[in-house]
């Protein structure tokens, strides 16, 4: 079964900044009506605020709400799988996170 058979995925926000190779920061999963219902988000970091180091995840599509996480992702699991506003899994690779979202959608 192809991944695309459940949700339609498209690129979301891109990394910005001088000297940065643009990387996709999130993939957005759209349902058949074209509504975004899931997101796979890259954990960014480390960010320095004051004297503390954080990893960061944008919790909404416009990155207005940013979740700061005090630790590095365990086992390099740098992608979060989000369904609605809820984190349903984490993975080292974006496609694995996509699969986690798809698997959750398949559950009753």
């Amino acid at each position: 079964m192809g991944i695309g058979s459940r949700l339609n995925w498209m690129r979301g926000r891109q990394e910005e900044g001088a000297g940065v190779t643009p990387r996709t920061l999130e993939w957005i999963g759209l349902n058949d009506a074209g509504e975004p219902i899931a997101r796979v988000v890259r954990v960014q970091g480390p960010l320095l605020t004051g004297w503390r180091r954080f990893s960061a995840v944008a919790r909404d599509a416009e990155a207005k709400v940013v979740d700061l996480r005090p630790s590095e992702p365990p086992d390099g699991a740098g992608w979060l799988a989000c369904l609605g506003g809820q984190v349903v899994g984490r993975a080292a690779l974006p496609l694995q996170a996509v699969r986690a979202v798809e698997a959750r959608l398949g559950q009753p």
């Binding site: 079964m1 192809g2 991944i3 498209m10 990387r23 690779l93 974006p94 496609l95 996509v98």
Partner: protein, 695 residues
Amino acid sequence: MSSMSLDKIRNIGITAHIDAGKTTTTERILYYTGVSHKIGEVHDGNTTTDYMEQERERGITITSAAVTCEWQNHRINIIDTPGHIDFNIEVNRSLRVLDGAIFIIEGVAGVQPQSETNWRLADRYNVPRIIFINKLDRTGADFYRAFATLKEKLDIVALPLQLPIGIEDQFLGVVDLVEMKAIIWEGGELGAKYHYEDIPEDLKAAAAEHRQTLLDTAVSVDEKAMEEYFENGDVTIETLKRCIKRGTIDGDFRPVLCGTAFKNKGVQPLLDAVIDYLPSPIDVPGIAVALDEGVDESEHPERRRIKADPKAPFAGLAFKIINDKFGTLTFVRVYAGTLKSGDTVMNTTKDHRERIGRMFQMHADKREAITEVEAGDIAAFVGLKDTGTGDTLASADRPVILERMAFPVPVIDISVEPRTKEAVEKMTLGLQKLAGEDPSLRLRTDQETGQTILSGMGELHLEIIIDRLRREYAVDCNIGAPQVAYRETISKSHTETYTHKKQTGGSGQYAEVKVIFEPMERNGGVVFENKVVGGSVPREYIPAVEKGIKVQADTGVLAGFPTVDFKYTLVDGKYHDVDSSALAFEIAAKACFRAGMKNAGPIILEPIMDVEVTTPNDHVGDVVGDLNRRRGQIQNQESSGSTVIVRAHVPLKEMFGYISHLRSMTKGRASFTMQFHHYDPVPRNIADEIMAKSA
């Protein structure tokens, strides 16, 4: 030489732990690519790349041999490297000039110490690599266990591109996870014949699972491929191969293939993988230009890089020198430009001109004359006057110096003297030539005894050198027992002032120097700084002070070993208008060193080795107890089936003759490897012993 476009060239190395099958794999590659018409075997002593007499006699690779072959309309330049730690320099300089490498891992033991060492070296030079799990026909072979050691010991993302079909004597072929087909080798014709068929029923589930991991991992490195995946639910084989190549070059993951070179299975897909996934000279970022002395590399992450381009000004790196009956051959990796016989280039490292005479493409010990080389090529030049390993050859229009090579520290000394007085000159000449070929070999004269001291990486290394001296230069030598290459250093800062004064009649000598001696961290070397102000030591005498201390540092104050890892700063001094001279300042500096070192807490350092003993379970107690008696510090013990691997740090002094003791202790069932780890201060009682011996 290159009639092929650059994207069709692969410069690769084959490297691994000793006896993992590098040379055997190379022989198969040469056979399947049509370079040789029969397969040589290491144990028969007739391989192509092990061409030295000693290599054939001992069944090991000593020098890196370069061979060229063609596969699928691509040219592959292969360098087969030694596995023994004593010849690590060969691996080091080969990896330095290669664009990619095949790492061979043994299917029984998995990642072994020398694989780890070579892996770290390849990391240092950012060499893209693919892994070949070999010897799957052996009793005890286990692809999945060997695969697990890749993560455990190398901490990498290893990505299987194949799964084995059968194991040990039932090993038949592999499942190709890219094409999702089985490849089965047919008997006869030395493995040249194989066919594709459907994946066996019992492997279908495992293959599907691993293909999913392959897709997830590979496609994630390329966002366009991800879109293709989302769109179609899969990607084309072409896209998948492109993603694997990109991930391999960027080091995001390391593709893993498998087979048994000795039983002629798995080598052709390995060659396909070299073409598909390892970079051509234009796929890599290019070689970095060296930083100026004293400039911190971390401050310049984006140094200027020279990209492979035949039309650019010439730049190449001499990475290996060999002397044979025809003269000196200098191996050069060409990074940019084109060079013809008769051209002149600059040796920018030593700042002199070199005229290019004859050039050859090498096939192990055979050579093919060529008249032109260009970016991407590896060739041997004959007749360069004064070009050593690591020197840059560049066009006079753009005289760049390429990133320097780092060489390992020799840890064992032996004294050598010719059996006859007449042979002294021949021996010196021979040793100088051998040291010119091998940067891990150092040559010095003991100032007190006048003996010639050879320093190398291990007993085997020095044994081979002495053997070569006998065979190639016809010099028989008496050699002393191997000695540990101790070093001296200081443990605290001290300021010393010394006045050298001889002013009794005639022209006198006068010089006064005030020098601060400070300890530096290990491998800090010897550093000089001049902080003289107001001309208290005239500028023209400062090099004499620097030289005096550097020369004297070769003979330490405790036991005469070279003094290392300290900084000396000239801060003040006095001179006399008539009686001062460079010689007077040099003498003052030497005496200042001798006096100053004694007050700077001098200590003796000894090499500590990283020792790994593989022993059956029932001898672990004996092995550990024995290592403890040898002043070893056990680092860890690890069970692997019925054997245990014991890792320890042990002073080299205690490891002489260890192999025979280990064999008798374990009835020949245990083996060990060791490599230099670091220098540590010797305990007081041992230091007293060393000083008493040298007195």
